[in-house]
């Protein structure tokens, strides 16, 4: 799974509440309708600027706090192609993979807002386009990559019928 897109840069300990507040989740059911409230407090209007395949890049503990699945689903609905961070909140990480959002853990220091990246989620290779810079992240285990690539757990199971661990 290779994704090329613009970097939308965030810091450390971004909570699921920052991604989408609880009250928005209660007011709306439809992910596409809710997408415009992505990062409502931190970066209002972000969704209208995102091009499909763009990347969210963050520091440590991205998606910490409450386990709300909507946080991952809304990032996907807003057109985000993948997330690069130094580390992820555990449940957010699960939610992301299960809704078909590719994630990669790596040292993101120095990857700036507005940069263009080419990310190979299978190998973990990240290229900063126009600079020749290359970094390597820790790719997902094969099974989780397949789930994300399939578009999420429901689709994966529809296609494969059962959980298939390789090797």
């Amino acid at each position: 799974m290779i994704i090329e897109g613009r970097v939308w840069r965030f810091g450390d300990n971004i909570t699921t509440d920052a991604i989408i507040p609880a009250h928005r989740k209660q007011e709306h059911r439809d992910m596409v309708a809710m997408a415009r409230f992505l990062f409502e407090e931190m970066r209002p209007g972000l969704t209208s600027e995102i091009s499909p395949g763009d990347l969210v890049v963050a520091g440590v503990n991205f998606g910490c706090g409450s386990s709300r699945e909507a946080a991952a689903a809304i990032l996907k609905a807003a057109g985000v192609g993948g997330i690069l961070a130094k580390s992820f909140g555990r449940i957010f990480f699960r939610n992301a993979v299960n809704v078909g959002l590719a994630v990669l853990a790596l040292d993101t220091d120095g990857i700036a807002e507005g940069a263009r990246l080419r990310v190979d989620f299978r190998t973990g290779k990240v290229q900063v386009l126009g600079t020749g810079e290359e970094r390597w992240g820790k790719p997902l285990p094969r099974f989780l990559l397949e789930v994300a690539e399939a578009g999420g757990l429901l689709t994966y199971l529809k296609v494969h019928g059962d959980y298939r661990l390789s090797g």
């Binding site: 440590v60 706090g65 386990s67 699945e69 699960r94 989780l144 199971l157 661990l165």
Partner: protein, 431 residues
Amino acid sequence: MRRGDAKGLTRTIIERFAEGGVRWQTGEVVIVSPDRLLIHDAYLTDIESCLLTVGGRPRYPEKVVIAFDHAVPPSTVVQANSLVKGLSFVRDQGFPYSYPFEGICHQVMAERGHFVPASLVVATDSHIVSAGAFGTLGIAISPVEAVEVMVTGKTWLTIPELVEIEITGELPGGVSAKDLSLLLLRLVGGETATGKAVELWGSAVEDMGVDGRLTFCTMMAESGCFSALMFPNRAVWEFLQGRLDDSTLEVVKQDFLKLLGSRAESPPDLRVDCSSLGPQVAAPFGPTNVHDVSELEGERITQGFIGSCAGGRYEDLAIAAQVLRGKRIPPNARLIVNPASREVAIRALRSGVFEILYEAGAIILNPGCGLCGGFHQGLVADGDVMISTQTRNFKGRSGSSSARIFLASAATVAASVLEGVICDPRRFLEP
């Protein structure tokens, strides 16, 4: 063997429920068939529509536990419609373990014998980590995965690294498991235990009652850990008497004794002595922002909350009653109390605890999550400062985003509401 890769109790339990051979490498994915799936009303609508999309019927309805706790009784028409729809979904699918209005899901799991030592449970709620109080491995999963567990009976886990914490000493009077858990969050913070399987040992853990253990393990979820486990102690086995039938209990005890040998041999990653611990308070806006109560004394308080899966148990209500006996909450403050379950409420009623709280002017509400998640009843206003036994104090969590929330033990909450400022509860607890 590298410390973090030590087998431990967590991996031993995972092995019991995993498909195929397991190689014990950290990060390896395994497929497990949990004993129980816990879901609650906050996600029921999502789960229901997801199940429809998948087109499957729950293969194992007897593995599913459903609680209505987050938005009951409903405060909006949307919530009311959601509740009624949820109740009929449960009826239509024939789920035998449905607990509407019985109390907070994790407390109900404990009371109804769904937390069985050495078993594996999954839930659409991060505080399922509380299962660790019983030596049960409790893992949080997403609603989509919950649907798959219902239909296939299985889900995936990645093998976590292990972190062992030993807590020695004896908690001083007036200092509770809640204070101890806040201390742990201060020590392990947001990084040390993230994604890892925590195992807790030591005399302080051995001495902890069931209420304290459940509260402690619940709070460990705020460290971002994969799970938190304690070896069942005498209090746990006594609690389970009558909640599991005798033959099952005997089998479970024997099985657990066999697992004793799975404790990792090396010294713990963290050793803490709690003998001189004082009351702890987490300041806005995170549960790991913990201080000694003495550092925060004098901070003005407008509302107190005693409730949630980390502070609405009998022990919490009882100590609040000790502080408030014969006293009256000042008119400028509110104290809201939600017992964690109907069982807790009945006990508080019969023992006179509720009478003391009512006489003091507390607002006593129904068994359930109450204001913690911001769904209903008792939300905080702009500029409010609340001190609460709940699990989290992120901005905007329980109402207005300009309100500030401090987290503390039930005793500290009761004393602080009484005084109108954050204060050490111990002077109200002299024998």
